[in-house]
Symmetry: C2
DNA sequence: GCTCTTAAGTTCTTATTTGGAACTTATGGC
DNA sequence: GCCATAAGTTCCAAATAAGAACTTAAGAGC
């Protein structure tokens, strides 16, 4: 079964997961809420490959969660900003944060 | 970069994702909140392969999110129940549900 | 005492996805 | 000219997932 098959599932959780239920996607959204908007910021912050970031940004734009906006004309440079649909995803990330804070404390010195 | 490298990340969202930031894992947890507890129920409900369910259940048990309990001695049969740590993950799933309900309506007759 | 069914996995082979590094395009600065 | 920056794309190897069949243990029906 493919992930895209979940997009018409009866369950709203499954439909949400088909779109944003992916680790890199969720990390990109976290970065957006932290104020990031550019390709190389996402690459540096998440540690994902450029290929993955490229792919996930494309999906998020198609889904109307992010919007691609030019911030420079020559050379053409784009940044990605949260739409209202994207903004409204924040409760989910906050729930992840709260749960992580409570149940997954850092044991050693952080690597990242 | 590997996923497991996120488990010591400074960010609690990243640490949470290293453990449960996977579509099948989140679908299994959804099923647990819907009252399911057995292997074949997860397979049928999520549409994932048996291999994946087996792997994800193992991880969730190791992480202390689910507990494996015998419900039959001969033959040995196990079921998986949420621990308190697992129970406390419900706000995240509810956030996914609310966001999915609002922003991802079903367009055609459901396939699943 | 043979065959069917159920439950919880495991194993196998083939496809798809990801990781990592190098390359591209356009421009500005030294 | 040569180096740097930003936002990607391309390539191949490695890791993961898909799909179906097999395993183990027991009870039910005949």
């Amino acid at each position: 079964m493919k992930w895209t098959d979940l997009d018409e599932n009866w369950c709203p959780v499954a439909r949400a997961l088909s779109l944003v239920g992916d680790r890199w996607t969720l990390l990109i959204l976290r970065d957006c809420f932290l104020g990031m908007s550019r390709f190389d910021q996402f690459v540096a912050s998440t540690g994902a490959t450029r290929h993955l970031i490229s792919d996930r940004l494309k999906r998020l734009v198609e889904a109307g969660i992010l919007e691609k906006q030019a911030y420079s004309e020559r050379p053409k440079r784009y940044e990605y900003v949260l739409t209202e649909k994207g903004q409204e995803f924040s409760p989910a990330l906050m729930a992840f944060r709260d749960w992580g804070k409570k149940h997954l404390p850092v044991r050693r010195a952080s690597k990242a």
